[in-house]
Symmetry: C2
Subunit: 451 residues, 2 copies
């Protein structure tokens, strides 16, 4: 029997783990600096918590867990023979695997509302599962790294989230464009041209300007049922150019008649001005074509693109006004962002941006050259570990070549040799594996030499 | 609708998370010092990998994941109407949730044998799932922290694992007894009294000495079918006392006729002498009554008991000779230990041993006293974060009382106040929340003051 793992899932080797940990640790440290605190929720949620929250397609993509014990009990012959997979699944299964971190977070807030102090700033770094068709870069088990604050509608949090995005990617050394949009502006535009129900169609069409040109966009708008006068009014929006404030001036003019739209413009001005005053490493730009989560977000929308790698968005988020309403706790506003760890991993790989230390592993490997020698070495290894230096002794008196190939495979920076001479003198021959240089070091000075 | 979570699962609050992270980080750091490197495996494995590896009871306790799509396809009416839950589960489900970290590790080693350098030292800290009846201290989702080395039968690894256990609990400040047993000694004892098939019965009976006394143990042995002369020969073993080496002398005598038994005695002597020479903080004692994993371990067996808290074993492990044999790669010896994070959590809670910093959270909260004041504060907050100090600004100009109660709930050590006076002078009033002391600090010196 040749063992395998389910498609769309992955094993992570030590090298991959140290790189992934570097990503998670960096994101976690930034979340912490901004006062977000970690929570975790169970991998399985009740299906009643998950179903209906991700649309019909989402319901199908939930991994469902079969009830333990006699899960077929109480089913009629008719129900069984109907072979209605979806309906019977709800009889066979009460639990499902987490599909994202947002719905479990909403459930958490509602369940623990009495213990929480609002505004509540939480972050969460956990795997999620989706029964998607696996393909390159898309997995059935993958990590999300989310930070959200609920219980405040202060726009200072939007600024803070932009700063967090900026700091995370600065730490990684990845140049990004942080794109900002606002659902209120989009709604205002659709409203002010008399096409309130066409907001998504308009956004999606404008997004194609680069690909299909102005005539193409206008044709698509007409195809979606927009009358010519509405399309005419949209022209300044489609051809929007210039700095953020130039763009906002154009938009504000189109939105003169829409209260919602004007509110959106104000919000954008506040966020852009605030972020600029505090100083960003990366570019923050207004982009009306962000259509991410339009059914969901109610204010600001964020999306992050890497500038030096061709890849989809590597982070995103926005403001939502009724996250916990689905669980009977209305009127709680929230705003959050999510980092896509797997895509960031690919970006750092492509740009070769991992710091050298993330290779991990021990600092010194002692060769095993005999019983007395290894007993002496083991003492030194023990002292090194107590001093915080990762060290080990090769476990057997194997051939030198074999021991050396173990050292090489582990990328060990130093190899320590204690033969009979060293043993007598209480010294260690230390070989720097990068330079090849050898030094005879007093056993008592080993720690300091390596540190 | 009142949301809830599946029984036997848990949400973790920020305070719980920082304590759990302290446990995981401590264990991870020790694993790393000893040269163990982290891997991760998928939460779901193919059921063919998991089934039959944990006994019949274990198969029932696996959480099985329903196939996506039309999982009822191809089933006859007869099969469906049989309502044979267990048999149909194998048709409905191809995947299951990880039940422990050992079987996935064996699968990992076999699948990646060509990429690995042996001996391969790995650690793994991940959740596992069991459909056990939930009860106090037993959960359906819980973390295991395992370190194993495969591909070497060197006893130096047994010594190393004892050192790791010792270092982990020393770091936690928990006093423990590390108990050592050896499957070869137990087998040798059973063999040398002519009762090779009664090894487990004998071990279990001897384990009851404290509870039921010598007569009770002998009665139980007789009940299990041991003849009187076998029971007579066991008396020195049952009444075993004294130091480790005194015990080993007694055992060695009983085992004179058993090659396996003598090998076990030698192994114990080597491990005990090695560990003693290197120096342990905690007591390492020979204990023949450890029956942990007897069907599984082939050499050394470890178990750790906390001395100051009444609780089951908090760590354990041993040597196994054929972990990967089940996946077609025979003859690979391994030895490992596992730390029970949930029980360690309970122990640290009961003994109140968490370092103060594990409370987590921000170092300074700035009060929000107006628009200009908060703009100035936000600059300082940004500088602090860039300098690595976790800081935040209250998001609204709320009442002082509300802002202060937010600070208290977050256990913030410093509250920073920037009113109109401070704003004019470029200063900050910093309140130490523990001592109540207030200091007027120059904005440029804030960082150093707090660090």
């Amino acid at each position: 029997m040749k063992p395998s793992i389910p498609k769309g899932t992955r094993d992570f080797s030590p090298v991959e783990m140290s790189r992934r940990n570097y990503i998670f640790d960096t994101i976690r440290s930034v979340f912490g600096l901004f006062g977000y605190r970690q929570i975790e929720t169970p991998s399985m949620e009740n299906l009643s918590t998950l179903m209906g929250k991700y649309g019909e397609e989402g319901d199908k993509l939930l991994f469902k867990i079969q009830n333990s014990g006699d899960y077929m009990n109480g089913l009629t012959d008719e129900e069984l023979l109907s072979r209605n997979s979806l309906k019977l699944a709800s009889k066979f299964c009460e639990k499902g695997l987490r599909y994202d971190l947002t719905v479990p977070f909403a459930r958490f807030v509602v369940m623990h509302r009495e213990e929480l102090q609002f505004p509540f700033k939480r972050f969460q770094i956990q795997p999620v599962w989706r029964a998607d068709r696996p393909q390159k870069g898309r997995y059935r088990e993958f990590y999300q790294c989310d930070a959200d604050v609920v219980g405040s509608d202060s726009l200072l949090y939007e600024i803070e989230l932009v700063q967090m995005i900026d700091m995370v990617f600065s730490k990684f050394g990845v140049r990004v464009a942080i794109k900002l949009n606002n659902r209120k502006i989009l709604a205002g535009i659709a409203e002010s041209i008399g096409q309130a129900d066409k907001m998504v169609d308009i956004t999606v069409a404008i997004d194609k300007l680069d690909k299909i040109g102005l005539d193409g966009v206008n044709a698509e708008l007409a195809e979606k049922g927009l009358p010519q006068d509405a399309i005419d009014k949209l022209q300044p929006i489609i051809k929007l150019e210039g700095s953020n404030s130039q763009k906002l001036d154009v938009i504000a003019k189109v939105l003169e008649g829409s209260g919602t739209g004007q509110k959106g413009v104000e919000e954008c001005r506040f966020i852009l001005a605030g972020a600029e005053k505090l100083g960003l490493q990366n570019r923050l730009e207004l982009d009306l074509t962000l259509a991410r989560g339009l059914n969901y977000y109610t204010g600001a929308i964020f999306e992050v693109k890497a500038l030096d790698v061709e890849i989809g968005s590597i982070s995103g988020g926005g403001r939502y006004d009724n996250l916990t309403g689905i669980f009977g706790m209305p009127g709680v506003s929230g705003v959050g962002i999510s980092f896509g760890a797997d895509r960031i991993y690919d970006v750092l790989n492509q740009l070769d941006l991992y710091p050298k230390e993330t290779a991990g592993g021990v600092k010194v490997l002692f060769m095993n050259l005999g019983q007395e020698e290894s007993a002496f070495s083991l003492k030194l290894v023990t002292e090194l570990r107590r001093a915080g230096v990762a060290a080990e002794l090769y476990p057997d008196e194997a051939k030198m070549k074999k021991q050396m190939s173990y050292a090489n495979a582990g990328n060990v920076p130093y190899v320590a040799i204690v033969g009979s001479n060293e043993l007598q003198e209480g010294k260690v021959t230390l070989k720097n594996m990068e330079s090849g240089e050898q030094s005879l070091v007093d056993a008592s000075e080993l720690k300091d030499f390596i540190k």
